[in-house]
Symmetry: C2
Subunit: 319 residues, 2 copies
């Protein structure tokens, strides 16, 4: 009888899930649309059916050890999703209670970036580290901070929102309602905004000038950079400069051994890693210099969000 954990990654558009064993193997996986279900009960009903289907595809005898969930604004202490702007379920939703109507096993919930940090620790590049940070670069910027071998949840379960530290008072408007947040500069959307700012600020010729704001993607900026497009390269340099500066601040808080970059924008490789490393070093206090590694996530090509969510349970069992 093989012990498995259901890992679930709830995103604004899709919910991905999988049955993950202790070694991080995904025995069976699936996905449903999140945004089709305005009513949480309907969503749960459909998700449960799909999870059962998914289970039947596994050949071995399995025993369910628990369910781990990563979700935006997920609260680890309460098992709730609270005021998540990109989900249709409004206010405070007690998600773990809903799962316990279907499953009599431990259910744990945290935000998606914290789950990514756990995944990095259990299955990825941070296996032997006790102090590190994971930065997820998607539409926004998420972060999970690990101190002394545990994800930092803070007194209220919401710690680790580096995407909403302030780069510049009265800077770019953010989806959170404030201004100047890190993720308005450093994310797939952030670098796109930077490209359009450079269109206005410079006369630099660029193949990117032919695209509308709605058309342009971070991947297109990376492709242009690969071809030596100067404006694209300048956009990456600016992005790395802002992230490097704020990571130097993050180091002054928890002094991590490494900072892992994860998600879409991190696939740009040296275009993003080199300036981040350079500008972070320039801004580090002397005692921290040449100590902190900037690394690609060890889970880059795997279903990291699902693995990270499952790690919520495996970590508890291991401890």
């Amino acid at each position: 009888m093989k012990e498995v954990v259901i890992g679930i990654d709830i995103g604004g558009t899709n919910t991905k899930f999988g049955y993950v064993d202790r070694e991080g193997n995904n025995l069976s996986s699936g996905s449903i649309p999140t945004d089709k279900y305005e009513n949480l009960d309907d969503y749960m009903d459909y998700l449960h059916k799909e999870l059962e289907k998914c289970k039947n595809e596994i050949d071995e005898d399995i025993k369910l050890a628990g369910i781990g969930i990563g979700a935006p604004n997920g609260n680890y202490y309460k098992g709730t999703i609270e005021y998540a702007p990109n989900l249709k379920w409004k206010g405070v939703v007690n998600l773990t209670d809903h799962f316990n109507k279907y499953y009599d096993v431990p259910v744990r919930l945290t935000n998606d970036a914290n789950a990514a940090a756990l995944g990095e620790m259990i299955y990825g590049g941070a296996k032997n580290m006790k102090d590190f940070i994971v930065i997820t670069l998607g539409t926004g910027l998420g972060s999970g901070i690990v101190v002394n071998g545990d994800v930092v949840h803070g007194h209220d379960g919401f710690a680790g929102e580096l995407g909403h530290t302030i780069v510049k008072p009265n800077g770019r408007r953010c989806g959170c309602g404030r201004r100047g947040c890190l993720e308005t500069y450093v994310s797939a959307t952030g670098i796109k905004r930077t490209v359009f700012k450079l269109f206005a600020a410079t006369m630099e010729d660029s193949e990117l000038r032919k695209y509308s704001y709605n058309e342009l993607t971070a991947e297109m900026i990376t492709k242009a950079a690969e071809k030596g497009d100067k404006l694209a390269l300048e956009a990456f340099d600016n992005t790395g400069k802002v992230l490097g500066l704020k990571l130097a601040d993050a180091v002054a808080h928890t002094s991590p051994e490494a900072i892992f970059l994860f998600g879409g924008l991190s696939k740009a490789g040296d275009f993003i890693f080199k300036p981040v490393q350079q500008y972070m070093e320039e801004n580090l206090l002397e005692i921290y210099k040449n100590k902190v590694k900037i690394l690609p996530s060890g889970l880059m090509d795997k279903n990291a969000a699902v693995m990270g969510a499952s790690a919520l349970i495996w970590k508890e069992i291991n401890d």
Copy 2:
């Protein structure tokens, strides 16, 4: 037989010490000049003699449980002081080894602000808190971050240097060799620099204009503010604005229940607490708003540094 711990606070000018019991009572205390001893062996010899004298003044039978030391650039893991700019012992000094030549008890060392955070947890206002931050406002700005009941040391023992997070790239020059550090704006020296900036920037009449840079102290700025001096009030507002902004960033890292302000500048009361609270709230992400208390240290009028240093040992015994 009463168990006691020697708490030692090593500053650039003076070394203070005391025999502290489990309840935080200082049974006997003393002080020697730090800067008179260029040679560490001479310093240790003299300190040991004074500690013995100090012990003889205690009436009860005592048993020494350990020695806790707070020192600038103190490294908790290694027991070393490393490259402390304000001490005469250069490079890396293994202080705990030196103490063990005289005492066969556990000796623990950390930086002074981390010791203050421990003191707050064991004896002060954070007795029932597991996640909080202590900001020490002296000549510079120190910080101790507590996560899940433990001081954050980081992978290298040097975590918690919020005084050297960057407020403004290319901003004010800092003693650390970089520019724009928080402590160049927020500290006894920082507010003084702000007053002199306001002398230049405004035409505001002020009683402070009669003092030279060398004469002016933070206490004089507080006294002027108490009398309604507008320039002094503006200096406090500016100082609170910068600290509030950076504390909002700190909350986005570890989401503490409270932030304690400690040391000289915090004695200015509402002049500093009100703007810090206001500007921090303005800059907090929605999920953190109206949750984080800004509090005066519960050790304000006690020999907090010595108590905090002793707490290094008591915390270990309690755990």
